[in-house]
Protein backbone atom coordinates (compact mmCIF):
# COMPACT_ATOMS: atom_id res chain seq x y z
CA UNK A 1 0.00 0.00 0.00
CA UNK A 2 1.17 3.52 -0.74
CA UNK A 3 2.49 4.98 2.60
CA UNK A 4 0.77 8.33 1.95
CA UNK A 5 -2.48 6.52 1.37
CA UNK A 6 -1.91 4.58 4.60
CA UNK A 7 -1.34 7.79 6.58
CA UNK A 8 -4.34 9.40 4.99
CA UNK A 9 -6.43 6.37 5.79
CA UNK A 10 -5.30 6.40 9.43
CA UNK A 11 -6.12 10.10 9.69
CA UNK A 12 -9.51 9.46 8.14
CA UNK A 13 -10.29 6.57 10.47
CA UNK A 14 -9.26 8.62 13.50
CA UNK A 15 -11.54 11.49 12.46
CA UNK A 16 -14.31 9.05 11.72
CA UNK A 17 -13.98 7.42 15.13
CA UNK A 18 -14.24 10.83 16.81
CA UNK A 19 -17.28 11.75 14.74
CA UNK A 20 -18.94 8.35 14.42
CA UNK A 21 -22.06 9.60 16.18
CA UNK A 22 -22.87 11.77 13.18
CA UNK A 23 -23.17 8.65 11.05
CA UNK A 24 -25.22 6.83 13.66
CA UNK A 25 -27.54 9.77 14.22
CA UNK A 26 -28.16 10.26 10.51
CA UNK A 27 -28.61 6.51 9.98
CA UNK A 28 -30.99 6.21 12.95
CA UNK A 29 -33.00 9.20 11.78
CA UNK A 30 -33.32 8.03 8.18
CA UNK A 31 -33.55 4.24 8.52
CA UNK A 32 -35.85 2.22 10.74
CA UNK A 33 -34.52 -1.24 9.92
CA UNK A 34 -31.18 -2.25 11.52
CA UNK A 35 -29.97 -3.82 8.26
CA UNK A 36 -30.72 -0.63 6.37
CA UNK A 37 -28.87 1.42 8.98
CA UNK A 38 -25.76 -0.71 8.47
CA UNK A 39 -26.04 -0.25 4.72
CA UNK A 40 -26.42 3.49 5.10
CA UNK A 41 -23.45 3.72 7.50
CA UNK A 42 -21.34 1.74 5.01
CA UNK A 43 -22.49 3.96 2.17
CA UNK A 44 -21.80 7.16 4.11
CA UNK A 45 -18.36 5.88 5.12
CA UNK A 46 -17.51 5.07 1.51
CA UNK A 47 -18.70 8.50 0.36
CA UNK A 48 -16.73 10.27 3.11
CA UNK A 49 -13.59 8.40 2.15
CA UNK A 50 -14.06 9.14 -1.54
CA UNK A 51 -14.45 12.86 -0.79
CA UNK A 52 -11.78 12.97 1.94
CA UNK A 53 -9.11 14.12 -0.51
CA UNK A 54 -11.03 17.36 -0.95
CA UNK A 55 -11.64 17.96 2.76
CA UNK A 56 -10.26 21.35 3.78
CA UNK A 57 -8.80 21.08 7.29
CA UNK A 58 -9.51 24.72 8.12
CA UNK A 59 -13.18 23.74 8.44
CA UNK A 60 -14.69 21.46 11.10
CA UNK A 61 -14.68 17.82 10.07
CA UNK A 62 -18.11 17.38 11.66
CA UNK A 63 -19.67 20.08 9.46
CA UNK A 64 -18.16 18.57 6.32
CA UNK A 65 -19.14 15.05 7.39
CA UNK A 66 -22.70 16.12 8.13
CA UNK A 67 -23.05 17.57 4.63
CA UNK A 68 -21.88 14.37 2.97
CA UNK A 69 -23.87 12.06 5.23
CA UNK A 70 -27.07 14.04 4.72
CA UNK A 71 -26.45 14.06 0.99
CA UNK A 72 -26.26 10.28 0.99
CA UNK A 73 -29.25 9.84 3.29
CA UNK A 74 -31.54 12.25 1.49
CA UNK A 75 -30.57 11.70 -2.09
CA UNK A 76 -29.99 8.00 -2.31
CA UNK A 77 -32.15 6.46 0.35
CA UNK A 78 -35.27 8.57 -0.01
CA UNK A 79 -37.34 6.45 -2.36
CA UNK A 80 -36.14 3.03 -1.21
CA UNK A 81 -36.42 3.75 2.49
CA UNK A 82 -40.00 4.99 2.15
CA UNK A 83 -40.98 1.64 0.71
CA UNK A 84 -39.84 -0.03 3.92
CA UNK A 85 -41.16 2.74 6.18
CA UNK A 86 -44.73 2.21 5.03
CA UNK A 87 -44.50 -1.45 5.98
CA UNK A 88 -42.91 -1.06 9.37
CA UNK A 89 -43.74 2.39 10.74
CA UNK A 90 -45.77 1.08 13.67
CA UNK A 91 -43.20 -1.48 14.84
CA UNK A 92 -40.34 0.95 14.52
CA UNK A 93 -42.14 3.71 16.42
CA UNK A 94 -42.90 1.26 19.23
CA UNK A 95 -39.28 0.21 19.41
CA UNK A 96 -37.96 3.72 19.50
CA UNK A 97 -39.89 4.86 22.55
CA UNK A 98 -39.66 1.56 24.42
CA UNK A 99 -38.37 1.10 27.96
CA UNK A 100 -37.44 4.58 29.18
CA UNK A 101 -35.43 4.43 32.41
CA UNK A 102 -36.53 7.77 33.79
CA UNK A 103 -38.43 10.90 32.78
CA UNK A 104 -35.45 12.45 31.00
CA UNK A 105 -34.85 9.22 29.10
CA UNK A 106 -38.46 9.19 28.06
CA UNK A 107 -38.14 12.73 26.75
CA UNK A 108 -34.97 11.78 24.88
CA UNK A 109 -36.84 8.85 23.34
CA UNK A 110 -39.73 11.14 22.39
CA UNK A 111 -37.34 13.60 20.77
CA UNK A 112 -35.63 10.77 18.90
CA UNK A 113 -39.01 9.48 17.71
CA UNK A 114 -40.05 13.02 16.75
CA UNK A 115 -36.93 13.45 14.59
CA UNK A 116 -37.34 10.00 13.04
CA UNK A 117 -40.96 10.84 12.19
CA UNK A 118 -40.16 14.06 10.35
CA UNK A 119 -40.05 14.32 6.57
CA UNK A 120 -36.63 13.82 5.02
CA UNK A 121 -35.92 17.50 4.48
CA UNK A 122 -37.20 18.71 7.86
CA UNK A 123 -35.18 15.92 9.43
CA UNK A 124 -31.91 17.26 8.00
CA UNK A 125 -32.70 20.72 9.30
CA UNK A 126 -33.61 19.45 12.77
CA UNK A 127 -30.57 17.17 13.07
CA UNK A 128 -28.22 20.04 12.32
CA UNK A 129 -30.06 22.33 14.73
CA UNK A 130 -30.04 19.79 17.54
CA UNK A 131 -26.34 19.20 17.02
CA UNK A 132 -25.83 22.90 17.69
CA UNK A 133 -24.85 24.11 14.27
CA UNK A 134 -25.61 27.82 13.97
CA UNK A 135 -28.13 29.07 11.42
CA UNK A 136 -25.43 30.26 9.05
CA UNK A 137 -23.74 26.89 9.08
CA UNK A 138 -27.07 25.09 8.58
CA UNK A 139 -27.89 27.38 5.65
CA UNK A 140 -24.49 26.66 4.09
CA UNK A 141 -24.70 22.88 4.57
CA UNK A 142 -28.22 22.62 3.20
CA UNK A 143 -28.07 25.38 0.60
CA UNK A 144 -31.03 27.31 2.02
CA UNK A 145 -31.35 31.01 2.82
CA UNK A 146 -30.91 32.15 6.43
CA UNK A 147 -34.52 33.38 6.53
CA UNK A 148 -35.74 30.02 5.29
CA UNK A 149 -33.72 28.18 7.93
CA UNK A 150 -34.93 30.47 10.72
CA UNK A 151 -38.60 30.24 9.70
CA UNK A 152 -38.61 26.48 9.25
CA UNK A 153 -36.72 25.86 12.48
CA UNK A 154 -39.12 28.05 14.41
CA UNK A 155 -42.01 25.85 13.22
CA UNK A 156 -40.09 22.64 13.83
CA UNK A 157 -39.20 23.69 17.36
CA UNK A 158 -42.85 24.41 18.07
CA UNK A 159 -43.76 20.94 16.81
CA UNK A 160 -40.96 19.36 18.87
CA UNK A 161 -42.23 21.20 21.92
CA UNK A 162 -45.74 19.78 21.41
CA UNK A 163 -44.36 16.29 20.80
CA UNK A 164 -42.36 16.37 24.02
CA UNK A 165 -45.37 17.55 25.99
CA UNK A 166 -47.50 14.91 24.28
CA UNK A 167 -49.79 17.60 22.86
CA UNK A 168 -51.32 17.55 19.39
CA UNK A 169 -48.91 19.19 16.94
CA UNK A 170 -49.68 22.82 16.03
CA UNK A 171 -51.22 23.24 12.58
CA UNK A 172 -48.62 23.30 9.83
CA UNK A 173 -47.99 26.64 8.25
CA UNK A 174 -46.25 27.22 4.96
CA UNK A 175 -44.67 24.43 2.97
CA UNK A 176 -43.67 21.25 4.78
CA UNK A 177 -41.34 18.90 3.00
CA UNK A 178 -44.22 16.62 2.06
CA UNK A 179 -42.10 13.49 2.27
CA UNK A 180 -43.96 11.71 5.03
Amino acid sequence: MNPNRGDRQDAFLALLETNKNILFKVASAYCREPGERDDLVAEMTAALWKSFGRYDEQFRFSTWAYRICLNIAISFYRAERRRVERRSAVDAAALEIAAPEDDADERVARLEAFVAGLGDLDKALMLLYLDEHDYQSIAAILGLTLTNVATKLSRLRARAKSALRDEPAPPSEGVTDGTR
Partner: protein, 222 residues
Protein backbone atom coordinates in the same frame (compact mmCIF):
# COMPACT_ATOMS: atom_id res chain seq x y z
CA UNK B 1 -39.32 24.56 25.68
CA UNK B 2 -36.37 26.68 24.69
CA UNK B 3 -33.73 25.93 22.16
CA UNK B 4 -31.12 24.93 24.72
CA UNK B 5 -33.52 22.50 26.32
CA UNK B 6 -34.04 20.57 23.07
CA UNK B 7 -30.34 20.56 22.42
CA UNK B 8 -29.66 19.43 25.97
CA UNK B 9 -31.94 16.45 25.43
CA UNK B 10 -30.16 15.73 22.18
CA UNK B 11 -26.82 15.75 24.01
CA UNK B 12 -28.19 13.01 26.26
CA UNK B 13 -29.17 11.06 23.16
CA UNK B 14 -25.69 11.65 21.77
CA UNK B 15 -24.14 10.31 24.97
CA UNK B 16 -26.45 7.29 24.93
CA UNK B 17 -25.52 6.60 21.32
CA UNK B 18 -21.83 6.89 22.18
CA UNK B 19 -22.11 4.06 24.68
CA UNK B 20 -24.49 1.89 22.65
CA UNK B 21 -22.99 2.18 19.20
CA UNK B 22 -19.97 0.29 18.15
CA UNK B 23 -18.29 1.00 14.94
CA UNK B 24 -17.84 -2.01 12.75
CA UNK B 25 -14.11 -1.61 12.15
CA UNK B 26 -14.04 -4.15 9.34
CA UNK B 27 -16.86 -2.36 7.55
CA UNK B 28 -15.11 0.98 7.92
CA UNK B 29 -11.82 -0.45 6.75
CA UNK B 30 -13.53 -1.99 3.74
CA UNK B 31 -15.38 1.22 2.91
CA UNK B 32 -12.28 3.36 3.35
CA UNK B 33 -10.26 1.04 1.14
CA UNK B 34 -12.76 1.74 -1.60
CA UNK B 35 -14.29 -1.73 -1.68
CA UNK B 36 -17.74 -0.37 -0.90
CA UNK B 37 -19.39 1.41 -3.77
CA UNK B 38 -21.79 4.25 -3.28
CA UNK B 39 -25.26 4.11 -4.83
CA UNK B 40 -24.06 6.77 -7.24
CA UNK B 41 -21.13 4.56 -8.27
CA UNK B 42 -23.35 1.53 -8.72
CA UNK B 43 -25.78 3.50 -10.85
CA UNK B 44 -22.93 4.93 -12.92
CA UNK B 45 -21.52 1.44 -13.53
CA UNK B 46 -24.93 0.08 -14.53
CA UNK B 47 -25.43 2.96 -16.95
CA UNK B 48 -21.95 2.49 -18.44
CA UNK B 49 -22.70 -1.20 -19.00
CA UNK B 50 -26.02 -0.27 -20.60
CA UNK B 51 -24.27 2.32 -22.77
CA UNK B 52 -21.74 -0.24 -24.02
CA UNK B 53 -24.52 -2.65 -25.03
CA UNK B 54 -26.57 0.10 -26.67
CA UNK B 55 -23.57 1.51 -28.52
CA UNK B 56 -22.73 -1.98 -29.76
CA UNK B 57 -26.30 -2.37 -31.02
CA UNK B 58 -26.11 1.01 -32.80
CA UNK B 59 -22.80 -0.01 -34.38
CA UNK B 60 -24.12 -3.40 -35.54
CA UNK B 61 -27.34 -1.95 -36.95
CA UNK B 62 -25.30 0.69 -38.80
CA UNK B 63 -23.31 -2.12 -40.44
CA UNK B 64 -26.51 -3.98 -41.25
CA UNK B 65 -27.95 -0.87 -42.95
CA UNK B 66 -24.81 -0.48 -45.06
CA UNK B 67 -25.12 -4.10 -46.17
CA UNK B 68 -28.81 -3.81 -47.08
CA UNK B 69 -28.95 -0.34 -48.54
CA UNK B 70 -30.55 -1.67 -51.75
CA UNK B 71 -33.41 -3.41 -49.94
CA UNK B 72 -35.85 -0.59 -49.07
CA UNK B 73 -38.17 -2.59 -46.79
CA UNK B 74 -35.35 -4.18 -44.78
CA UNK B 75 -33.50 -0.85 -44.68
CA UNK B 76 -36.63 0.95 -43.39
CA UNK B 77 -36.99 -1.65 -40.62
CA UNK B 78 -33.30 -1.29 -39.72
CA UNK B 79 -33.53 2.51 -39.65
CA UNK B 80 -36.53 2.29 -37.29
CA UNK B 81 -34.59 0.02 -34.90
CA UNK B 82 -31.53 2.25 -35.31
CA UNK B 83 -33.46 5.39 -34.31
CA UNK B 84 -34.82 3.55 -31.25
CA UNK B 85 -31.32 2.40 -30.23
CA UNK B 86 -29.83 5.87 -30.78
CA UNK B 87 -32.61 7.41 -28.64
CA UNK B 88 -31.73 4.98 -25.82
CA UNK B 89 -28.04 5.87 -26.14
CA UNK B 90 -28.92 9.58 -25.90
CA UNK B 91 -31.07 8.94 -22.81
CA UNK B 92 -28.26 6.97 -21.13
CA UNK B 93 -25.64 9.61 -21.98
CA UNK B 94 -27.93 12.34 -20.58
CA UNK B 95 -28.18 10.39 -17.30
CA UNK B 96 -24.41 9.85 -17.15
CA UNK B 97 -23.77 13.56 -17.77
CA UNK B 98 -26.25 14.50 -15.05
CA UNK B 99 -24.59 12.01 -12.67
CA UNK B 100 -21.12 13.35 -13.45
CA UNK B 101 -22.21 16.79 -12.28
CA UNK B 102 -23.12 15.50 -8.82
CA UNK B 103 -20.57 16.24 -6.14
CA UNK B 104 -21.11 15.14 -2.53
CA UNK B 105 -19.36 18.29 -1.28
CA UNK B 106 -22.12 20.54 -2.57
CA UNK B 107 -24.99 21.75 -0.38
CA UNK B 108 -27.51 19.05 0.45
CA UNK B 109 -30.48 20.55 -1.38
CA UNK B 110 -28.45 21.17 -4.55
CA UNK B 111 -27.45 17.51 -4.62
CA UNK B 112 -30.96 16.35 -3.81
CA UNK B 113 -32.26 18.43 -6.74
CA UNK B 114 -29.60 17.01 -9.06
CA UNK B 115 -30.36 13.44 -7.96
CA UNK B 116 -34.09 14.00 -8.37
CA UNK B 117 -33.44 15.24 -11.91
CA UNK B 118 -31.48 12.07 -12.66
CA UNK B 119 -34.35 10.05 -11.19
CA UNK B 120 -36.82 11.91 -13.41
CA UNK B 121 -34.61 11.34 -16.47
CA UNK B 122 -34.42 7.63 -15.66
CA UNK B 123 -38.17 7.35 -15.12
CA UNK B 124 -38.89 9.11 -18.43
CA UNK B 125 -36.34 6.98 -20.28
CA UNK B 126 -37.80 3.77 -18.81
CA UNK B 127 -41.37 4.82 -19.65
CA UNK B 128 -40.61 5.64 -23.29
CA UNK B 129 -38.44 2.53 -23.72
CA UNK B 130 -41.28 0.32 -22.49
CA UNK B 131 -43.95 2.19 -24.45
CA UNK B 132 -42.08 2.01 -27.74
CA UNK B 133 -40.56 -1.49 -27.38
CA UNK B 134 -43.70 -3.46 -28.44
CA UNK B 135 -44.06 -1.24 -31.51
CA UNK B 136 -40.42 -1.73 -32.51
CA UNK B 137 -40.83 -5.51 -32.33
CA UNK B 138 -41.89 -6.02 -36.01
CA UNK B 139 -38.97 -4.08 -37.55
CA UNK B 140 -36.63 -5.77 -35.06
CA UNK B 141 -37.93 -9.17 -36.17
CA UNK B 142 -37.38 -8.23 -39.83
CA UNK B 143 -33.80 -7.16 -39.09
CA UNK B 144 -33.05 -10.21 -36.92
CA UNK B 145 -34.47 -12.73 -39.43
CA UNK B 146 -32.53 -11.11 -42.25
CA UNK B 147 -29.32 -10.66 -40.24
CA UNK B 148 -29.15 -14.07 -38.56
CA UNK B 149 -30.94 -16.35 -41.05
CA UNK B 150 -30.75 -14.41 -44.33
CA UNK B 151 -34.54 -14.53 -44.44
CA UNK B 152 -36.56 -11.69 -45.99
CA UNK B 153 -39.57 -11.85 -43.67
CA UNK B 154 -41.71 -9.54 -45.76
CA UNK B 155 -41.07 -11.56 -48.94
CA UNK B 156 -41.57 -14.91 -47.20
CA UNK B 157 -44.49 -14.16 -44.85
CA UNK B 158 -46.02 -11.18 -46.69
CA UNK B 159 -47.83 -8.07 -45.52
CA UNK B 160 -50.35 -9.93 -43.30
CA UNK B 161 -47.44 -11.11 -41.12
CA UNK B 162 -46.32 -7.50 -40.66
CA UNK B 163 -49.84 -6.25 -39.93
CA UNK B 164 -50.41 -9.10 -37.44
CA UNK B 165 -47.16 -8.31 -35.63
CA UNK B 166 -47.89 -4.59 -35.47
CA UNK B 167 -51.40 -5.36 -34.18
CA UNK B 168 -49.97 -7.80 -31.62
CA UNK B 169 -47.52 -5.13 -30.44
CA UNK B 170 -50.29 -2.57 -30.06
CA UNK B 171 -52.53 -5.10 -28.27
CA UNK B 172 -49.69 -6.11 -25.92
CA UNK B 173 -48.99 -2.48 -25.12
CA UNK B 174 -52.67 -1.70 -24.49
CA UNK B 175 -53.05 -4.80 -22.32
CA UNK B 176 -49.93 -4.00 -20.32
CA UNK B 177 -51.14 -0.43 -19.77
CA UNK B 178 -54.52 -1.66 -18.53
CA UNK B 179 -52.86 -4.17 -16.18
CA UNK B 180 -50.38 -1.56 -14.95
CA UNK B 181 -53.08 0.99 -14.17
CA UNK B 182 -55.60 -1.44 -12.72
CA UNK B 183 -53.43 -3.90 -10.78
CA UNK B 184 -50.01 -2.23 -10.48
CA UNK B 185 -50.80 -0.65 -7.12
CA UNK B 186 -51.70 -4.03 -5.60
CA UNK B 187 -48.21 -5.45 -6.15
CA UNK B 188 -45.49 -5.17 -3.50
CA UNK B 189 -43.52 -1.95 -3.90
CA UNK B 190 -40.23 -3.79 -4.16
CA UNK B 191 -41.27 -6.24 -6.87
CA UNK B 192 -39.64 -5.80 -10.30
CA UNK B 193 -43.06 -6.16 -11.98
CA UNK B 194 -44.41 -3.29 -9.87
CA UNK B 195 -41.46 -1.15 -10.95
CA UNK B 196 -42.05 -2.04 -14.59
CA UNK B 197 -45.77 -1.24 -14.24
CA UNK B 198 -45.00 2.07 -12.52
CA UNK B 199 -42.58 2.95 -15.33
CA UNK B 200 -45.01 1.98 -18.06
CA UNK B 201 -48.04 3.74 -16.60
CA UNK B 202 -46.13 6.94 -15.94
CA UNK B 203 -46.51 6.61 -12.13
CA UNK B 204 -42.75 6.62 -11.71
CA UNK B 205 -42.43 9.81 -13.78
CA UNK B 206 -45.19 11.51 -11.79
CA UNK B 207 -43.63 10.42 -8.49
CA UNK B 208 -40.18 11.67 -9.52
CA UNK B 209 -41.63 14.98 -10.73
CA UNK B 210 -43.58 15.36 -7.48
CA UNK B 211 -40.41 14.75 -5.42
CA UNK B 212 -38.55 17.38 -7.39
CA UNK B 213 -41.44 19.81 -7.08
CA UNK B 214 -41.64 19.26 -3.31
CA UNK B 215 -37.94 19.94 -2.99
CA UNK B 216 -38.08 23.15 -5.03
CA UNK B 217 -41.11 24.40 -3.09
CA UNK B 218 -39.41 23.57 0.21
CA UNK B 219 -36.32 25.52 -0.80
CA UNK B 220 -38.21 28.58 -2.00
CA UNK B 221 -41.00 28.85 0.59
CA UNK B 222 -40.35 30.56 3.92
Amino acid sequence: MERDDLQELWRRYDAKLQTLSRFNAALVRRASLGATQTALGRLRNALCFELILDALAVFLIGGFEADHVREPAVLAAAVTVHVYAVAIVIAVVAQLVALARIDYDEPVFAIARAVDRVRLLRARAAMWTLLIAPLVWPPLAIVALRGFFGLDALAVFGLPWLVTNVATGVALLAGALVLARRYGKNLPLSSPLRRAFDSLSGSAVRAAAAELDTLVRYETAD
